[in-house]
Amino acid sequence: MPTSSRANFMTPPPARQRRRLVVDALARYTVGLGGVFVIAAVALIFFYLLYIVIPLFLPADARPVASYPLPGGKEARTAHLVMDELREVGIRYTRDGRVFFFDPADGNPRGEGRTLLPPETRATAFSAGDSATGIVAYGLDDGRARVLQTTFKVTHPNDVRLVTPHLSFPLGEEAIVVDDQGRPLTRLAVQQGEESASLVATTDDGRLILTHITQEVSFLDDEVTLEVAHTELPAPDQAVDFLLLDKEQRTLYAASRDGWMSVFDITDPQAPALIQRLRVVGDGLQVSALTFLTGDISLLIADSTGAINQWFPVRDETNTMRLTRIRTFDTGQGTVRSVGVEPRRKGFMAADDQGRVGIYHTTAHRLLEISSVSTAPIRLVSVAPRADAFLAEDDSGHLHYWTVHNEHPEVSWSALWGKVWYESYAEPEYVWQSSSASNDFEPKFSLTPLAFGTLKAAFYAMLFAIPLAIMGAIYTAYFMAPRMRRLVKPGIEIMEALPTVILGFLAGLWLAPVVEKNMPGVFALLLFVPLGTLLFAYLWRLLPSHLTQRVPEGWDAALLIPAILLSSALALWLGPHMEHAWFGGNMPEWLSHTAGIDFDQRNALIVGIAMGFAVIPTIFSMTEDAIFNVPKHLRNGSLALGATQWQTLTRVIILTASPGIFAAVMIGLGRAVGETMIVLMATGNTPVLDFSLFQGMRTLSANIAVEMPESEVGSTHYRVLFLAALVLFAFTFIVNTAGELVRQRLRSKYSNL
């Protein structure tokens, strides 16, 4: 059979046909990709935010680099270990007054060791000042003290970085006389500031001496003259095993091993005063380590149970500063023998007699990492200036050098959402204060006031918007004449397109002063407009019916406009008179002085109105659709059974449309929560936790807009701002998804009816 000329299903298509099919398939895949793109975009936003946020919650990572015998030998005990900024040079001070320089990475010595003491003296005490200054001091057996300073010089000979340590004597080559009776010094504390230095020492006969040194630089030849003054402090009854002086040279802490601590105020070096004596560990316990946290406000006190307590002075009811225990870090078993403090953050590392080093952060109350560094007990740990490494010395005479990756210790669940007791605060509080000029600043990353502000703004906005939008939508969908509806609906929907920056600008610069000036009038509006409407309606009913019937059905809203304008004018006209009669002529002042309510010009009332204005169209439009799309036969059935219009509306229509109304409110809420420009411009942006109508707030979104441009990329602040964005994203995601699901269900329900 000659079938070859006929085409059947097996015939291969000609080339042109094939190309058409290929194009068709290509189009299908491209379009499919386009559909998936939308999901991908949402997922990308979510995962990118997450990707930035996750490092906040990762534990620290500590890795061993090298272990080596103590540079300079283990005969003499180590007094102090330091590293430079770039971790190229390590310095070891020994208790017998020698110093050794070494490379922290391998322990190789860098240059010869040096003896630091004046001839024929012996070191009996040691103290290191604030780490930023590099000051250390040796107390000598003849009642004097030698003060030294180490600085690091960075040079680039032949394009290779070279760090050279440099030793100097900031208070002169001559040792400073601390005890003029010449007794050996047993404990020592040193600090040097810009103009003065202080040395505090105990002597072997139990005296406590403060030596205050004022430096004066001569204008002529840069020669420094020192003025030395000695004051004897009342010595505590117990032995002084720890002596700490803060870097401002204002407060002195002297503690014994069994936990008795005396606090002296030495702001005036001539008249030091004992301000508090207290027990800082439980009965029968011992203090195993005691040091300042960076900033020298908090004390870290380790006791023999292995707990580390943070204490700082807190102002009590009688306005006196009392050293108070703030929080405890329980390290588990083992006694903490040394605490190394991060020089630039409120973090520390604790080494114990089990050979472990733990990394902690105080504000976040967080244990970031604990690692076994040595089999022998560790007696000393020292943190590098950037907190990216530590040196730990164990009892077997070895140094262990570890690097640490610990970028964001400041953040924890409790620091973000809970009350935190910040340094110098009277009690635990929710505070957002992300940055400050000072290096010792304790960042306060509580998102609670911001989340609260967000909800507060949204709450007042919804309070304003929901009644107007839903009632308006009910009328428009159910009662309004179709011709009027065709005008009104787009009219209100155009509101939605109005840029929020304009609403914010008007709210901040026009509405806020106007409302402040006419406050009673504005509140009177709330009462007068509905009352005026009702009065008008009642009078309208009393009019003869041949007059009222001239107005076609469904145009009542237009009729009401003069009534509303009139009652508003009346309210605003009466406002100043009410203000005069009841509020002494100035309601904002009356509020803050007589009623004791703080008043901001840009407050929640303004935000509520402006943002309410922005969400009205969203809610209105969707509610209107939901009500309008309720099948007509439901309404007709109800009316046919004798129900009035109002009964039909409340018992049938609204009930049927209620999921749609719910979705509308949800989506309106989502918009109110995320709105930025209005809150940015119409509030003072202060992060306060106060629900008052007359106070401002700071919202998550406005906070991002304000602080993001100044945030350093990759910093904790940067990531916390991303977290704020993630919170917003998650919230609106839930709200919008709920709204959309409800709408999808409603749509299929209507189509079934």
Partner: protein, 550 residues
């Protein structure tokens, strides 16, 4: 009465009240912006009056009446002003007195009852200056190189003529400084980068280096020539100056180079004023801002907004349309389409600031930073694309407006009758051909609608732009005569941000406010017109296909 309440009628009235209140708010808002925004450019009459200060001394004031309000007398007494009589309410006016360089302030409040001998003298001159704001006073003398040419009333005509000359010179100076020297600078920068690139790539090509050096020398030479020309122009423009006697009798000396325009509002006829009004209006939309954005025009902001919106349209249209086609034409209705719809809704509902922070992190730092590493290593550490700019801003906004395009396009596609598709398929067209040749052309007005709505949304969005590329004052437009003409890496100005910045960050809010209202009006007009256009197109489309369906 009770039965009336029971019938529910009052509730219906209250619902009607809610609609009316909403509508009144919209109208009131638009009216407020229009009134304040348009009123600013009308030349206000200059009043001169004697005023009793609160301590009883008399002074003479000249200025425009700006605002009038009633305040309770207690409030004034509380602020220390006791010279206000016994009335409970006091009328006071806000006067724009100008002369910031003389008196230190632009505006002051005066109590109505203490004003006497109020006149509107015809010879009073209002001078708009390039710095220090307005000056109000009487023309005293006109000088040329320090020598008086004319005095008093007779000086007005020559003053006007010489002012016109100064304006021409000023325009020439600006053209040289901004365009020509600006283009030399960008040329020098380009050469520097070219050299650095050779260095980085380790290419030692003397021929190319000499070419660069030669080009550099050429630019240097052109620069020297321009400098010379500028010097001459500056000399010429500084020839004339004028002296005014201000309200308190002091004399103020103003070089003509510092004057934008001078006019005598009290002597102007209605057509004169109208002419002035439109000249000011034109300046507003076509000129660059002066005095920290509080004076002059907003042209760079308009231009920046349009550029950004156009770039955004390029990105948003294909993605939005393709996604809509997928949803409506290809996808089987099921879990996937429902998920996509939820995603679309979420894209529409995610707060705009989240887009901003995402754009900054992902586009600017991640994409931009990597592009810099790969393509612009010669400029590092100065970022080229790794810094906020117009490209990233438009991409961010494209993401933000994609749902608008999707929803509108989908609606348009759903209105295309099934019969059209079936007819096409029955004639043997593939699905792609059907779409491309019949369905999409029919739905194109809907796509247009979506795009217009997206543009309207983008034009008004500020929060994300603050993070991804908008600045208060951009040194150069993103489109100019220097290679590569379209500068995607540049920062730009934006109408919405301009409103925020001038209204809230400006040092002199009171003086800037009218301009902010005018900017707001322009923005609202643009957005309302765009929206109305979109609604009109959509309605026409609906009507058109209604007939096809039945």
């Amino acid at each position: 009465m009770k039965s009336w309440f029971k019938s529910g009628t009052p509730w219906i009235w209250l619902n009607a009240c809610a609609v009316s209140v909403s509508i009144l708010m919209v109208i009131g808002l638009l009216g407020l912006i229009a009134m304040r925004g348009l009123g600013h450019f009308w030349p206000a009459d200059l009043a001169q009056f004697d005023y009793m200060e609160r301590d009883g001394s008399m002074s003479r004031l000249v200025g425009e009446f700006h605002e009038t309000e009633e305040v309770p007398a207690e409030q004034l007494r509380a602020s220390g002003d006791l010279n206000i009589g016994d009335e409970a309410w006091v009328t006071r006016h806000l006067i724009k007195t100008g002369n910031r360089d003389v008196s230190g302030m632009d505006f002051r409040w005066v109590i109505d009852s203490r004003i006497s001998s109020l006149t509107y003298p015809r010879p009073l001159v209002a001078v708009e200056r390039r710095e220090w704001g307005n000056l109000y006073g009487y023309l005293h003398s006109l000088r040329e190189a320090g020598r008086t040419v004319a005095e008093g009333e007779a000086a007005w005509k020559p003053f006007m003529e010489r002012l016109a000359r100064a304006e021409v010179l000023h325009a020439q100076i600006r053209a040289i400084e901004k365009d020509e020297i600006g283009s030399i600078n960008s040329g020098m920068e380009r050469l520097r980068l070219a050299k650095r690139k050779l260095e980085l790539e380790g290419i030692d090509d003397p021929a190319r280096l000499t070419a660069i050096a030669a080009e550099e020398a050429g630019l240097q030479q052109r620069y020297a020539g321009l400098q010379n020309e500028l010097l001459k122009l500056y000399e010429a423009i500084q020839r004339d100056s004028v002296t005014f006697t201000v309200a308190d009798g002091k004399q103020v000396h103003v070089p003509l180079a510092k004057i934008v325009r001078a006019f005598r509002p009290n002597a102007m006829s209605l057509p004169d004023k109208a002419g002035h009004y439109f000249a000011k209006l034109w300046e507003f939309v076509s000129d660059e801002p002066r005095e920290a954005n509080t004076e002059g025009g907003i042209f760079p902001a308009i231009f920046g907004t349009i550029m950004m919106v156009m770039l955004m349209s390029v990105f948003v249209t294909p993605f939005g349309v393709v996604a809509a086609i997928y949803l409506r034409e290809y996808a089987r209705q099921g879990l996937l389409t429902r998920t996509i719809r939820i995603a679309v809704n979420n894209l529409a509902g995610v707060p705009s600031i989240v887009y901003g922070i995402f754009g900054l992190g992902f586009f600017v730092y991640f994409l931009g930073g990597n592009i810099d590493q790969l393509f612009f290593p010669e400029a590092l550490p100065a970022p080229t694309m790794g810094t906020p700019g117009i490209l990233w801003a438009s991409l961010t906004l494209a993401l933000l407006t994609v749902p608008v395009v999707i929803v509108a396009t989908e609606e348009g596609l759903s209105r295309v009758p099934r019969a059209v598709r079936e007819g096409s398929l029955a004639l043997g067209a593939t699905k792609a051909e059907t779409l491309w040749r019949t369905v999409l052309p029919m739905a194109s007005p809907a796509i247009m609608t979506g795009l217009i709505l997206a543009i309207a949304r983008a034009a008004g969005e500020v929060a994300p732009l603050m993070l991804v590329g908008v600045v208060k004052l951009a040194p150069a437009l993103p489109l100019d005569g220097d290679f590569p003409y379209l500068h995607l890496d540049r920062k730009f100005m934006h109408l919405g941000f301009h409103i925020y910045d001038v209204g809230f960050q400006s040092p002199n809010v009171e003086a800037a406010r009218p301009l902010v209202y005018a900017t707001a009006l322009l923005l609202v007009l643009v957005i309302v017109v765009l929206n109305l256009a979109a609604i009109a197109i959509r309605n026409r489309l609906r009507e058109k296909y209604k007939s096809l369906e039945h």
